[in-house]
Symmetry: C2
Subunit: 464 residues, 2 copies
């Protein structure tokens, strides 16, 4: 699939005359920057980086690249954990980062219209300033883009109550592999005219087209939020508390679990964790009335105590709340400080299998002689099992990851809850999905990208 | 597309030897029953009715029908309002009604596994008996099937807070047009492995395949529910109250609006409406704590009073609550009693355009000399504009429906919020979706049903 330097050179010449200066970059440091992402998946140099500023430019680049037979790999700020934006066959790295304007926020219709390069956190802040709420909160929200969230169907802690990115995308402007531009979806909350192309395209990891404008659903900002850190003497108790809370009819907006390794990685950064705690939950409830939120917090606390909680610390103010979440977001970088490398797995199991899954991941780590940390969105069964390693341990890491995914599937789960398959997990997709199902999906891929040049060799194991 | 009697006869002979006795029916009264639905779309006789009892039989029927070139139209209990289950080219009417078993309810994983012929209300009752909750509540829940809900992506009053059918389908067993059986989706709450085929298939109106098993997401049953009837002296006030409630950060689980005609249609059945009310809202709040639900009801009432509510009547007990919803569900049959015929339109507008949309529908009714009633899910902008008519008025009805849909689109809305396009609205789909978008969807249809025999001539205007 890799195009020769001559072919790419000719494409650059053709495009340069149609695009503003500075749209195409071939300097080494730029190529290197776009050759990696947050997946620890190595360096995959593109042959040219394209930085379009509007839909017409995106369309033009796709059209000419398709005509020239040069692969195109879309990307945002490359915070993805599955390597979806790695240009594994060189070609064009097409970044949407310059299309970063919030076009509209409508407080009555509860809708925002944005370009795909808008940073997720920037939209959160902008709508919160108007008393509105954009719930999806992937851990990387301070730096990731909404277009990337759409490509991966990103989740986050609040998914438990509020759902994932897909639940907030009402409509999109979408550029197909040959440069054709269509609008899919709508601006209204409901709508069933025609096939749900938004449903198909969100989470398609850049393989079925590129979003150039997003119409997003907003909610009113919950007026009251309470956040608590709840510590336990064992992982089993913490997992039992998760089920007890949900069984009481409560749906907290977040219910995050950290095991002892994860707690150690962030201890004191910025908050200290009780030394004898073996697991903790970060629970957050929200609502429109103070009385309601207080009552939910009391009920949640009671259920956790019955499940054996050692201590329940409620954030007294916004500053304490922020520090609690800073600690939670610090787990991934904190673990990275413990060893030179880490790979984050993203498995999901039915909630009843949480304890078994966590214990199983730690057992696999012991078998392979690797440190393993598990944490994540316990409320919806989504665990980030992190394998920490040193150079030279790659074969053991590979075995451990495979065993963990097999464990998740054996327990009735899936190999990826919110990070995507991309490049990092494609070799394992056949563990979850049999050949006829893979073939069915590739039939759709061929229908929308017959030449197969849009983000090639991603998701499907025999893609290239 | 219609197959000759000889071809269908040969198909019946071939199938009869492979299926249990009684699976295939050709008696006139059965053919007539399966030739109509709740769309007022006329009689379209199938040539044979198939009543399979398991997935293998569904697969067998599709395979043999495809080989014989006979169209297959799937159906459930035919409560659809857009004619999606009308066998417009004869052939096989394939009903899933005998596949009506609830296979599993898991109170920890919060999952139900059901066959597609299960009545929606039967699942609601079964899970509520275990303290669980299946939110999607299309008006026809006492008689419609879950498979039909999936085919149309059905909504209902609770969609405002809880979303539509698509939000509750985790996984499916799915039979493709050639009889191939695949499993799509998963059992866990989250999961992004591969394309979101569940997203594409839910709402595909029987044109991309047939669901033979559904894995559905459940919630804990909210412990407290409060329901209120709020009357207003004008439609404008009622619509303003909708925006005021949502603007206060409240998301009631339902916020239904009835105009004066709709109220008259159900007056005294079973509850009386104040004679001087020109519009009313039925509002329902729910939650896990009594204090929270009370506080939300107080806040909701205050906002409605500020918007000019005349009276706020809170249901004192479960009986009063049930009667209020009985009245709401009675609107559609109640209107049907006023004239021999009625057609229910299902438009959605951005919430800010509610008043304009309702006033516009009534103006269109006056222009065409037809009685129009508007009611529906005001909280999410989904209005059921009903046109009531007598035989002979069809041309005026056709004009009125077209004008209403054009109005909805002019206001930034869609032609169908939850009923689907099916047969009834296919001629209007091009008003909303331009040719390249229709072509894109038909490319997917051809990829999954190359022969085009599965529910032919539905959704797309040039489909036959």
């Amino acid at each position: 699939l890799r195009a020769s330097a001559a072919v790419v050179g000719a494409l650059i010449t053709r495009l340069a005359s149609q695009l503003p200066e500075g749209t195409l970059r071939v300097d080494t440091e730029v190529l290197e920057a776009y050759g990696t992402d947050a997946s620890d998946g190595g360096m995959h140099l593109p042959q040219v980086v394209a930085l379009p500023q509007d839909t017409a430019q995106v369309s033009r680049i796709l059209k000419e690249a398709q005509a020239a037979g040069v692969p195109v790999t879309p990307c945002g700020t490359r915070t993805g954990k599955s390597g979806g934006s790695l240009p594994v066959h060189g070609g064009v790295a097409l970044s949407l980062e310059r299309m970063n304007r919030i076009l509209e926020i409508d407080p009555i219709d509860l809708v925002a219209v944005v370009q795909p390069g808008v940073i997720t956190g920037a939209l959160m802040e902008a709508v919160e300033a108007q008393g509105l709420f954009y719930p999806p909160d992937p851990n990387s929200w301070p730096s990731c883009t909404l277009g990337g969230n759409v490509a991966e169907n990103a989740g986050g802690p609040r998914a438990l109550k509020y759902g994932v990115t897909r639940d907030y995308v009402l409509g999109m402007e979408w550029v197909l592999s040959d440069g054709e531009v269509v609008r899919v979806g709508r601006r209204t909350l409901k709508g069933v005219a025609g096939y749900d192309l938004v449903g198909l395209f969100v989470g398609s990891e850049g393989t079925l087209g590129i979003a150039t404008e997003l119409t997003l659903r907003l909610l009113p900002l919950p007026a009251y939020v309470q956040t608590a850190l709840i510590t336990f003497g064992s992982l089993e108790q913490a997992a039992a508390a998760v089920n007890a809370v949900l069984g009481a009819g409560l749906i907290p907006r977040a219910l995050e679990l950290l095991d002892a390794v994860a707690m150690r990685a962030v201890d004191g950064r910025p908050i200290p964790f009780p030394a004898d705690a073996r697991a903790c939950l970060i629970a957050e409830v929200d609502g429109a009335t103070e009385a309601g939120v207080e009552a939910e917090l009391v009920l949640l606390g009671a259920r956790c105590e019955e499940a054996g909680a050692k201590e329940i610390l409620v954030a007294r103010d916004e500053g304490q709340r922020a520090r609690l979440w800073e600690a939670r977001r610090g787990v991934s970088p904190g673990l990275r400080r413990l060893t030179p490398h880490k790979i984050s797995d993203d498995l999901v199991v039915p909630r009843s299998k949480l304890v078994e899954a966590i214990a199983g991941c730690h057992a696999i780590g012991r078998e392979e002689g690797l440190m393993v940390a598990t944490y994540g969105h316990a409320g919806d069964g989504n665990l980030h099992a992190n394998v920490l390693y040193h150079p030279g341990e790659e074969p053991a890491v590979e075995r451990a990851l495979g065993k963990m995914l097999e464990l998740a599937l054996r327990l009735g789960g899936t190999i990826t809850g919110e990070h995507g398959v991309g490049w990092a997990k494609k070799r394992w997709l056949p563990l979850e999905q049999p050949a006829p199902l893979l073939e069915l999906q590739q039939r759709l891929k061929r229908a929308l990208d017959p030449a197969g040049h849009l983000n090639p060799s991603k998701i499907f194991p025999d893609g290239g």
